[in-house]
């Protein structure tokens, strides 16, 4: 797809929560993001799709403050995030379940969840624990087990639960279906919808583009560090090029 043909379609009406403006990110000599722009509205679910190494996770890292854009701006709720360190970004209500899950292996499930709430000044975590254990009952059974001993799927749930503990306004999920048995994939997306309906805006990164677009309002297709397509999720699902490249054939 030719990046010059990106439709200048503006997202649905509403309040812009996150506005990523033409960011360029370098890893040493590698030009990982070559001018990514995207907007997320309040209460939307937005999916980034693209091949491995296209720059999806780097985009999330840049939003979280882990990777600093060399040029371009990231504006969250009207506030420019340049110069805001990663540990302060989460305090603003942006949390992330990162690529590869990144569970703390030698901490118990409960402590992992407590780490998720680290940025909060509100000390009462009871309701949050309840919410996470309700969404992921298996975590409640494994409360005192070290995170490193969980299965891949359980770790994925823990990573999501941990991100929820921050009570984010914008939740970023990097490959939430990774490592999950097919029967759980659907369940995890139900949970994502449920979280969204409770008032959390969601930015998804998924290989499993079909299922992700099903639950999303809009999607962005990223190729080699650039947004090549942006549209409503329902349109992307119908797009022949998208179908061929990301949805397992027409």
């Amino acid at each position: 797809m030719d990046p010059n043909t990106v439709p200048s379609q503006s997202p649905a009406n509403g309040e812009v929560v996150l506005d990523v403006q033409d960011i360029h990110v370098y890893y040493g000599q590698v030009h990982a993001l070559k001018g990514v722009s995207l907007q997320i509205m309040r209460n939307e679910i937005v999916t980034l799709i693209g091949a491995n190494g296209a720059g999806k996770s780097t985009t999330l890292s840049a939003i979280s403050g882990l990777a600093k854009p060399r040029t371009g701006r990231i504006v969250y709720e009207g506030r420019d995030l340049s110069g805001v360190p990663a540990y302060d970004v989460v305090k603003l209500g942006l949390s992330q379940s990162p690529e590869g899950r990144r569970i703390f292996p030698r901490m118990s499930v409960k402590e992992n969840l407590e780490m998720g709430a680290f940025s909060r000044s509100n000390k009462d975590l009871g309701a949050d624990f309840e919410r996470v254990y309700h969404l992921f009952p298996v975590l409640s059974e494994r409360k005192s087990q070290p995170g490193g001993t969980l299965s891949g799927g359980e770790q994925q749930m823990l990573a999501m639960g941990r991100a929820l503990m921050a009570r984010p306004k914008l939740l970023m999920l990097d490959e939430p279906s990774m490592g999950l048995a097919p029967m759980f994939v659907e369940k995890i997306f139900d949970i994502i919808k449920e979280i969204n309906s409770q008032g959390t805006t969601i930015l998804l990164v998924e290989q499993n583009a079909n299922v992700a677009l099903e639950v999303s309002n809009r999607g962005y297709v990223i190729e080699t560090g650039q947004v090549v397509l942006a549209d409503k999720a329902s349109e992307l699902l119908k797009n022949p090029q998208v179908q061929e490249a990301y949805l397992g054939g027409a």
Partner: protein, 310 residues
């Protein structure tokens, strides 16, 4: 039997002194995988600064200077505070700029800091050893150490104090790391700094606090060592620093109870080795233990290897 008890208790006390430096090694290694060789020198400064606070006059840079002449129990916390700040400054200047450099660079920097601090001490306090004032609480009117006997073995109250203080410090530290929010942030940072930052942890601050605590513990060890052996000297930290490093490895590096256990075991092994085999080889026993350990259980006694599943 009398001799056995005597050596056991001597070893226990020596082991406590090692343990106090070893926690610094183990905490810092746990979090940034750096062997901060300068802890031996921070230990030495702990002893010197305690002396400075306790005497009424001291020679600094060859000039006699008046000093406050404080009580031991006031002097030591002051020394700990000063050395703690010194530890944080060292981290800021000598290690943080090398955080993303190859690990060898930071290690060389640590050795450099260690040598630098020895020379600074020599410049300030002179190359001759300075005697550590006696502590009135632990000394009789005749100038003898207050002591009691168990099974014929003579145990001084100062030794008991050293063991007691170490145990209290270790328990407090362990509670701090396992129960408090900052302690949890330390453990999280030791496991995954990037993700810790994502959770809202200011990792640089956590590392600074780790140096602060490790350095204060080392200074406490130095002050106690000085009071037990009645001296301070610029090179006094070298050997205990090395032994403490072995103790940390012995217990499982990164593990605080392990550092305590490793220190005590090492102290007792040295004490018995010196008594029953040969005192000339006292230090060799520590290294024999290190070699055997690395051959048979490189992760240390309490070291675990729970790895993250792929």
């Amino acid at each position: 039997m009398t001799a056995f008890i005597q050596y056991l208790f001597n070893g226990l006390m020596l082991g406590c002194l090692y343990a106090l430096i070893a926690v610094g090694y183990t905490m810092v290694y746990g979090i940034i995988e750096l062997i901060n060789f300068a802890f031996g020198e921070l230990f030495m400064f702990g002893a010197y600064i305690s002396i400075m606070m306790m005497v009424s006059k001291i020679t600094l840079f060859g000039h006699e200077v008046s000093m406050p002449g404080l009580n031991f129990f006031l002097a030591v916390p002051i020394a700990m505070a000063i050395v703690a700040i010194l530890g944080v400054v060292i981290e800021r200047l000598a290690y943080r700029p090398l955080r993303n450099a190859p690990r060898l660079a930071a290690l060389i920097s640590a050795i450099g800091v260690s040598i630098l601090l020895q020379n600074v001490a020599q410049a300030i306090f002179g190359s001759k050893q300075v005697s550590f004032p006696t502590i009135s609480l632990f000394t009789t009117a005749e100038g003898q150490a207050k002591s009691f006997q168990i099974g014929g073995a003579i145990i001084t109250w100062l030794q008991v104090f050293v063991v007691g203080v170490t145990i209290v410090a270790m328990v407090a530290l362990n509670l701090y790391v396992s129960r408090t929010k900052m302690g949890r942030a330390m453990r999280a940072s030791a496991q995954d700094k990037r993700t810790s930052a994502l959770m809202g942890v200011n990792v640089n601050r956590v590392i600074a606090i780790t140096f602060l605590i490790g350095s204060a513990m080392g200074a406490l060890g130095g002050a106690l060592y000085g009071s037990v052996y009645h001296f301070a000297a610029p090179q006094m930290g070298f050997s205990p620093g090395l032994k403490a490093f072995i103790a940390a490895v012995l217990g499982g590096i990164g593990n605080i109870p392990g550092a305590f256990l490793g220190g005590i075991l090492l102290g007792i092994i040295e004490s018995f080795g010196a008594a029953y085999v040969s005192s000339r080889y006292q230090s060799a026993f520590a290294f024999i233990v290190l070699i055997l350990l690395l051959c048979f259980k490189p992760s240390g006694l309490l070291g675990s290897t729970v790895s993250q599943k792929a």
